[in-house]
């Protein structure tokens, strides 16, 4: 034991990696089911009308969003933290029994939380607030999980050898702080069982905010959940894995610092764009609109920095499917951070709001940017964590093209669906009457819903190929090199 050289300890990263893959499959499968339920409503009772309650669209929808955001993506973030954190701070988790224990506890509690969330959402326990559907006992568990994550971050920083904090660490810290603040304030709720002296369901709670206030807090949260779960830590992951895999230094470290602060300054002010033309004060709406447009700058600052990191090394994009994932992800990041501000412009929002265009926007970010970064990160980590080469490079390439096709089908169909429906809702005939009844604007969407379902299915198929590839990697040829530099080894 004493004679073994000190190594990075990936035990916790490995656990979260399995969780990422399992929850990814679950979340995406539910998503595909939901997509086809909209195209073919008969599927709502696919397991018989006896259990229709648990297979109907409404019951499954929060399960899809939450299992993707807080299941797949968040475990991907945790995996990356327990990998990147040690490496850029140059300290092994095996050096601290305490942090190792915290890490394992973090995973254990997270697994408990996952089970509780799946069960409670299926049974219909929801607060209805998007991405904050969990009832109060689960909220308490979530806070505990988050505290453990915090201890892990600051604990590792406390025993670091590298004095300066790499840019990824900055983003992880922001991720931790931002979510902590947002989650606590948006989930202020009173358990009615205790407040009423022991009546009714013990799990039920009532929001501390009413009506318009509740909406403001919710979308301040909802928008920034996207910021601090689906953007900030994903940038952290990208800023580590892209330079590492390509062997190229970040194009401009200064630009990465600058866009970090830009993102912090601007993001929080943009939440009002979810509430345009609602009953919140007009200036909040306008400000949300303006700041959304300003947000292009820091977002593109990061995205351009990622793309330019490949400067002079573009042949790697052709050669390595792993680099392909990352470069397409950066491109999708640019794309969705341009699309978002466009939708936040008031006159565009008047058409886009409440339609499938918004769903399309979310998914080109989630599938193209977040999903691809998490997949690429795991592909990079797997050979190092398991000390094996990636099972199949060609499988990886195939996966890339299948998933890319899936994303394209997804967002193009949703664009057409959203804009079609938005225009039909507002159409008047020559006498000033509404031109279409509501159902006309639904039946017209059928082909697009079907195409979207196929797009989602392709992405899921690609993800299953990914899961299989990682599974086979665990038993693939061991790598000879002791510590791998840059490009990940891949089997044929």
């Amino acid at each position: 034991m004493e004679n073994r050289p000190l190594e990075y300890d990936y035990t916790v990263a490995k656990l979260f990696m399995f969780m990422t893959i399992v929850l990814g499959v679950v979340g995406m499968l539910i998503g595909v089911i939901l997509a086809f339920e909209l195209a073919f409503p008969g599927l709502n009772t696919m397991l018989g009308s006896g259990v229709a309650e648990y297979t109907s669209f409404g019951r499954l929808r929060p399960l899809h969003t939450d299992s993707i955001i807080f299941g797949f993506v968040l475990s991907g973030i945790f995996t990356s933290w327990y990998y990147i954190g040690q490496r850029v701070l140059k300290v092994s988790m095996s050096e601290s029994k305490f942090l190792m224990f915290i890490g394992k506890l973090h995973f254990g509690l997270y697994a408990v939380g996952v089970v509780a969330i799946v069960a409670s959402l299926l049974l219909g326990y929801t607060t209805s607030k998007e991405y904050a559907e969990f009832e109060w006992p689960i909220d308490i568990v979530v806070v505990l999980i988050w505290v453990l994550f915090g201890i892990s971050i600051f604990g590792l920083i406390g025993i670091r050898r590298e004095k300066s904090l790499y840019i990824s660490i900055w983003y992880f810290i922001a991720n931790f702080l931002g979510v902590a603040m947002l989650y606590v304030f948006n989930n202020m709720e009173i358990p009615t069982y205790f407040a009423s002296g022991g009546h009714g369901d013990i799990l039920h709670s009532v929001s501390m905010y009413a009506g318009t206030n509740d909406a403001m807090v919710q979308w301040w949260y909802g928008h920034n959940a996207v910021a601090f779960v689906l953007t900030v830590p994903i940038i952290a992951i990208m800023y580590y894995f892209l330079p590492k895999e390509s062997g190229q230094a970040i194009y401009s470290y200064k630009l990465s610092l600058l866009s970090f602060w830009g993102l912090m300054f601007v993001y929080l002010w943009a939440g009002g764009h979810h509430l345009i033309y609602s009953t919140v004060p007009d200036w909040v709406q306008s400000m949300g609109s303006v700041f959304s447009v300003v947000l292009i700058l820091p977002s593109w600052g990061s995205a351009i920095n990622m793309l330019l990191t490949m400067k002079g090394e573009w042949q790697q994009v052709a050669a390595s499917p792993l680099i392909k994932f990352m470069i397409l992800a950066s491109t999708f990041y640019m794309f969705s951070t341009l699309e978002g501000p466009i939708q936040a412009i008031k006159s565009v929002n008047a058409i886009a709001h409440f339609t499938d265009w918004i769903v399309g926007h979310v998914h080109d970010g989630a599938l193209g940017w977040v999903g691809f970064v998490v997949i690429a990160a795991i592909y990079h980590m797997a050979p190092r964590v398991f000390k094996r080469e990636i099972y199949s490079k060609s499988l990886m390439s195939t996966q890339f093209w299948i998933q890319t096709l899936g994303i394209v089908l997804y967002f193009t169909s949703m664009w057409i669906a959203g804009i079609t429906q938005g225009m039909m809702w507002r159409a008047h005939d020559e006498f000033g009457n509404l031109a279409y009844s509501f159902i006309d604007t639904v039946t017209v969407l059928h082909p697009y819903y079907a195409i979207r379902g196929v797009g989602g299915l392709l992405y899921l198929v690609g993800f299953l190929m990914f899961a299989y590839n990682i599974y086979k990697t665990m038993s693939a040829r061991p790598v000879e090199e002791y510590e791998l530099q840059n490009a990940s080894p891949m089997g044929a």
Partner: protein, 67 residues
């Protein structure tokens, strides 16, 4: 002073501060080019590239402990 007025002043003040800080930071980064320890910011990219336990830290936390 009404809440709305306070809010308006708070908002303007926040914007001015944020704009100054952000532009100040950009100016700081690109004129100084080096941080307080005299290390070029761009060197920090190496924290990701050379991140084995055996690699020398870009700036070690304490010199005597690391030797």
């Amino acid at each position: 002073m009404s809440i709305a007025e306070l809010q308006a002043y708070g908002y303007v003040a926040a914007m001015v501060v944020l704009v100054f800080v952000t532009y100040g930071y950009a100016y700081h980064l690109y004129t100084k080019k080096k941080d307080a320890n005299g290390k070029d910011y761009e060197d920090y990219s190496n924290m990701a590239l050379r991140d084995d336990l055996t690699d020398t830290p870009v700036s070690a936390r304490s010199e005597h402990k690391e030797k």
